[in-house]
Amino acid sequence: MIKVEHLSKHFGKVKAVDGISFDVKEHENLVLLGTSGCGKTTTLKMLNRLIEPTHGKIFINNKNILEQQPEILRRGIGYVLQNNGLFPHYTVGENIAIVPQLLNWDKKKIQHRVSELLEKLHLSKAYFNVYPNELSGGQQQRVGLARALVADPPVLLMDEPFGALDNVTKSKIHAEFKVLDELKKKTIIMVTHDVQEAFELGDRICLMDAGKIVQQGTPADLLFKPKNKFVEDFLKEQRLQLEFKAIKPPQPPEGGTLRLNGVVLSRDVSMWWVMEQFKFKGSESLSIYDDQDREIEKLGFEDLMSAFYQYKQQQTHE
């Protein structure tokens, strides 16, 4: 879906991004992870040409974006900023409707789409005519997300989208983010310096340093097969939590489901998430159903723990 080849950006003598290449598959969520100044934001901004690359090529759907008119390109790519970048002189409704306006949608269609998004993002309809400064930080960030999603672009770029939020609000939005159906159909590239966030939201992670990609792979790859000391050190803190987040509970057979208290779960819930449910929701077991809707296994806390260690051993011995 997105293909980046030998991409570089030089600011004078400084090589902010130095010849990186990566692919993002359709509907995948790729996280660009790294400390500040590693070139991750510059990389992101080259994808919608807010920054023009010095060298290299970028293809989205096999089209070279450097050959497209930037304004047209950008209207097809959602963009979420850390400081939301909402227009202070536009109401929430008008803010969300900016791209449809640029695309000349008719009024009814815009109205309908905006209301739909407000609802999906748990924003009251009363906010429609309210100005952004009257909203809380979390609400503003949701509006920013709605604005990026409104024209249903296949690609979504997010620059530290939850960076300005407090931890409580952040985990709440993380949870919403993971279940939002709109996002499931998107190819997302997200920039963050927060390792926990990267593990929680990313399908794959590119760990960057000094303008180069140090390692790219799934969270489990980075954890259990670190390429070098840098990767290892980067993930050292709260490693146990990361491991629980990177490892998934035993998977059901083809066509089967995971259920908790009878509720069907998404296939990619982490061990961490299930543990949290056990701890806070008072559940005691995770059930695995086959394609005939028969319960074939019931896993308690002990079972999950042994599955976790088994997985870890398997990874480190491979």
Binding site: L50, L73, R74, R75, Y79, L81, G85, F87, L102
Partner: protein
Amino acid sequence: MNDQQQTLWDFMRQQSDKLATQTLEHIGLTFISLFLAVLVGLPLGILIARRRKLSGSVLGIAGILQTIPSIALLGFMIPLLGIGPKPAIVALLLYALLPIIRNTYTGITGVDAAVKEAAMAMGMSKWQILFKVELPLAMPVILAGIRTATVITVGVATLASYIAAGGLGEFIFGGISLNNTNMILAGAIPAALLAIIFDFLLSRVQKLNFKKIKAGTYALPVVIVLLASVYFIPSAYGSKLTAGFTPEFMGRQDGNLGLQSKYHLKIHTIVISDAVMYKAAYEKQLDVISGYSTDGRLKAYNLVVLKDDKNIFPPYFAAPIVREDALRKFPELEMTLNQLSGKINDTVMTELNYRTDYLHESPEKVAKDFLVSKNLWRPDRSGSDGIVRIGSKIFGEQYILANMYSMLIKGYTDYDVTTKTGLGGTKICFDALTNNQIDFYPEYTGTGFLVILQPSQQIINSVEGSKEKTYNYVKEEFEKRYQIKWLQPIGFNNAYALMMRQKQAAALNVKSITDLKNYLDKK
């Protein structure tokens, strides 16, 4: 105090026509300049916000323009644009420019970078970002700049009357020249009120939410253009010739008021400062001006004086005035001074003034050349029989006369001479004389009559502007009141006069003010 207010009110009511015209002109002048300043300043501000490298030089130039004294700036405009509204508008525009450019620049560069990035990332074009994001968000700051510019312009526009562009400055500067407080206030109070009202209205506009009143955003320029256009209402006139009179002349009975009441002269008149009036006449910007009949510029610019055939301008014949005890102390003085009597007529005096004021010859040389040409000059006798002290006022003509008297006294008597030239004005000269600081100085009959004696209207009417009657009256009164003697007049009359370009006057066959009136009345 109460009395003062009453009379101010009376004055304003009496002059309500003029007041209304001047106020409209003032508003018009302010808004034309402001409108043009916005038209120039806003794009410039946007440009330097885009190309920051230019900002230093553009803001620097606008800043330098701001520091030029307003009168000087108006002065610079005259050679380029002549007189009247054009140079005034350009000057006002230049003054209004800095706050508008600076605030536009500050406003636009101050827009949150995240908001601009978001706008760009959503696929807005540069122009869309400018009109939908940058300008609306910068608007309060830009309006603050326009507000500052408005107040500055209302203030500086009072100076426009110096170059005949009208406005409330006509009253203010007329009042200052005529020492008429009511007239000053009749100009100054409305000007101050205008500044306050516009500032208040713009402060309200600033608080409006531009999203909510989109129509209002478009209405504002329309309102400004409408206000600007009121300038042209008073200027709708029809007259073959244009007169330029000084603010002082406009308000005097022996000036424009007399022209209207005695001659019934109807001419399109603009008010202009003395400093640029003669030049403007020379450059055909004006046809008729009010000047002084022996001014050197009369010759420099080829102007001719129209005969005052109804005698509305009182005679200003020059003659030395001497304290009587000085005449007793220096018995030969009177005879010596009277040698100049009748020797210098208007044309000669104008020529002499021209030589000092325009050719920049020294008054001493001019005086000597004249005496030699009249066979009056004699070498210095280096006498030591007492010292005669000569005074003079602070302008060229008086310096020349003082020098002539000095040479005559040294050549014909054994007295020595000291001169105290450049005494500030009539009052200072006269006080020096009465307090025995000087022995004599040249004075004008009209000044002695109107300024020193300040007679009643009845007496003014009784002398009927006649040379002899005025001279006799001041001579008698000065002797009675101050023991000061008027010697024989020198001959020339430095009075108010209407002047025209020689060529034009000849072409129209206008020799007197009555001729002028008849010419204007012919359809």
